[in-house]
């Protein structure tokens, strides 16, 4: 009894196909899932026209991705669509882990108060995509093309040539840059011949999304070896509209086709919820997963993002959440390259930073998988020992791993960072995403909103009058705490380890590029050049400015 009615987006024959003219576009995005749609919005927000091709004409079938973490919500807020997602979804932060019929461990994802966005929301992927599609359609820079399937891609020199099939036949288009967001089975990846390697896991899992009225709290509940599903794990999550996600581990030998049948699924759910439970199946799927990534996120003129670039296990909600952060990293860089404000080398830092993050996600997701699905008898004894001891003793609780939930990976080693030069204090090291805090700019607001989407210098306790630092086409807005924003709670200064003089340079994706104990314009310029892959010695404008 699914109540969700899938929207149907109408196919339109493009003018270029009708006219038979080969047109070159600055950016073509392949795939209108959460990552492709976010890419379109981020490029458009940076003034770039973008064409999105999708071989379908509706949203995700089934709820698929469910959990969206705080950092993607911050990115979507920059793109003005986080609020409807949070309104539509359910917010949560508490997770409980049970072993057999006992609580082993409980965690709180956001123990600190005073953040604008929740630690995590649960929302069906189709609802999320509808919000993103509506936002894209309202943007004149975004051209969403449904029923457009990429069938070949070539890269002759300084552009890509795409053969695209529509209900009106095949036509050719060109793109300066292609953003491949076409998922784990990416055809684009096959077309460029990239390697996609890693580890395949044998366990099969059953997802059942069920519609029911239930009084479970809005928490993530994870069972190891519960009485109602012995020997395996089970996950329960609430979504919007009284839809609940239940995920059953089935083991190695499970027959995917048989297990999908309602007569097999319903008894499993009754065993869990009790024979009197009233529910209806909305969507059922069997999955198996791999942890793997593409050899290079940049393949010439084609940049890969989301599952097309990396695949992880679902434990930890690291799939869609990581993909959105790929786009956050890529959009400002490509927009600057297209505007001629930064060299193409800046795009190589996209691979450097996001492959580093993907490897971190794969590591975390593989570790969680090894805990959830022990591969040998003795590793299972260790796993069970952790869960038993965790019921009694605090020391074992940090070892319980039912999925380490998605948090941003700091780009600790990125070449775009300017290393700390003096004894800087606090956790906000170069390469870290900016922590939010309540601030006041005329009226109460949030720090990340005041950072915006360009380079920003934030300085504490310096009596400077300037409002901007520019070098050639690069410019950073100066935000002076005490002049442009107020920090009445002191939380901003506390979260940034600030004392009088402390100055931060933030990148357009709200990551820390550099920090100092004082305000020094030449150093800020040098850091801005470094963060855009430009050598200040070779930058004529930089040289002049630095010499002055």
């Amino acid at each position: 009894m699914t109540n969700y009615i899938y929207p149907k987006f109408s196919y339109l024959r493009s003018k270029e196909q009708a006219d038979g003219i080969v047109k070159r576009h600055p950016i073509v995005v392949i795939g209108a899932g959460p990552i492709g749609l976010t890419a379109a919005l981020d490029f458009a927000a940076r003034g770039q026209p973008v064409v999105v091709l999708d071989d379908n004409d509706t949203v995700s079938i089934g709820s698929r991705a469910v959990c969206y973490a705080k950092r993607p919500l911050e990115i979507w807020d920059r793109l003005d669509c986080a609020a409807p997602m949070v309104d539509r979804g359910v917010s949560w932060k508490v997770g409980k882990v049970f072993f057999r019929d006992q609580l082993s461990y409980q965690f709180d994802l956001l123990p600190e108060a005073n953040h604008q966005w929740p630690a995590m929301i649960n929302l069906q992927q189709y609802h999320l995509e509808e919000i993103l599609v509506a936002k894209c359609r309202a943007n004149p820079l975004i051209d969403l093309r449904w029923k457009h399937r990429l069938i070949s891609l070539k890269q002759p020199g300084d552009h890509a040539t795409l053969a695209v099939e529509t209900p009106d036949g095949i036509f050719t288009m060109e793109a300066q840059w292609v953003i491949a967001c076409d998922g784990a089975n990416s055809d684009t990846r096959k077309m460029v011949g990239a390697e996609f390697t890693g580890q395949l896991f044998q366990d099969r899992f059953l997802i059942a999304d069920v519609a029911m009225k239930a009084d479970f709290p809005t928490e993530r509940w994870f069972w190891f070896d519960p009485p109602f599903h012995p020997g395996q794990s089970v996950l329960l999550h609430r979504q919007a509209d009284n839809i609940w996600r239940i995920d059953f581990q089935l083991g190695w030998g499970a027959d995917a086709d048989a297990e999908k049948q309602p007569e097999r699924v319903i008894p499993r759910i009754l065993a869990m919820l009790g024979d009197a439970a009233q529910f209806a199946l909305e969507w059922v799927s069997i999955y198996q997963f791999a942890c793997r990534r593409i050899d290079n996120f940049r393949q010439g003129r084609v940049l890969f993002a989301g599952d097309a670039a990396h695949q992880v296990s679902p434990f930890g909600a690291r799939g869609a959440n990581t993909g959105v952060q790929d786009i956050d990293n890529l959009a400002w860089k490509l927009a600057m390259v297209l505007r001629g404000e930064a060299p193409e080398a800046l795009l190589d830092s996209y691979h450097e930073e996001r492959a580093y993050a993907a490897d971190d996600n794969i590591l975390n997701s593989t570790r969680a998988t090894d805990f959830i699905t022990p591969k040998t008898k003795v590793s299972r004894y260790f796993r069970d020992a952790v869960l038993e001891l965790a019921q009694q003793h605090a020391f074992a609780r940090p070892l319980v791993n039912s999925g380490r939930l998605s948090v941003p990976t700091p780009y600790a080693t990125s070449a775009l960072n300017t290393p700390d030069e003096d004894l800087a204090t606090g956790e906000m090291r170069p390469g870290t995403n900016a922590a939010d805090a309540p601030t006041v700019a005329g009226k109460p607001s949030w720090f990340l909103r005041c950072l915006g989407d360009g380079f920003t210098v934030v300085t504490f306790g310096n009596a400077i009058d300037k409002t901007e630092i520019a070098i050639g086409p690069l410019a950073a807005r100066i935000v002076r705490v005490g002049r442009d924003i107020e920090d009445p709670s002191g939380l901003l200064a506390a979260r940034y380890g600030a004392s009088p003089g402390t100055t931060y340079l933030f990148r357009p994706d709200q990551y820390v590029a550099a920090r100092w104990s004082g305000f020094d314009e030449a150093k800020i310029i040098e850091a801005m050049l470094r963060a855009t892959a430009q050598d200040s010695a070779q930058h004529p404008a930089g040289q002049k400015e630095l010499a002055a």
Partner: protein
């Protein structure tokens, strides 16, 4: 700190007897499960990551 490989238990025969006796009425699976719990308890007590790494490597090498 380094892994201490010199004798460090005051009453070795008594300790060894206590360890073996503690598993006397357990079957093999129960004993292996107890060993897992014991390793985790001791590892947490030691805490020092470098010492734990040395101990793991040393135990693995001794078994061939």
């Amino acid at each position: 700190m380094m892994l201490n490989l010199a004798p460090n238990i005051a009453d070795p025969d008594d300790f060894y007897a206590e360890l073996i006796n503690s598993q006397r009425n357990l079957d093999e699976e129960q004993a292996l499960r107890m060993n897992a719990r014991l390793i985790l308890l001791l590892a947490n007590h030691i805490g020092d990551r470098k010492v734990l790494t040395e101990a793991i490597a040393c135990a693995r090498a001794a078994g061939g």
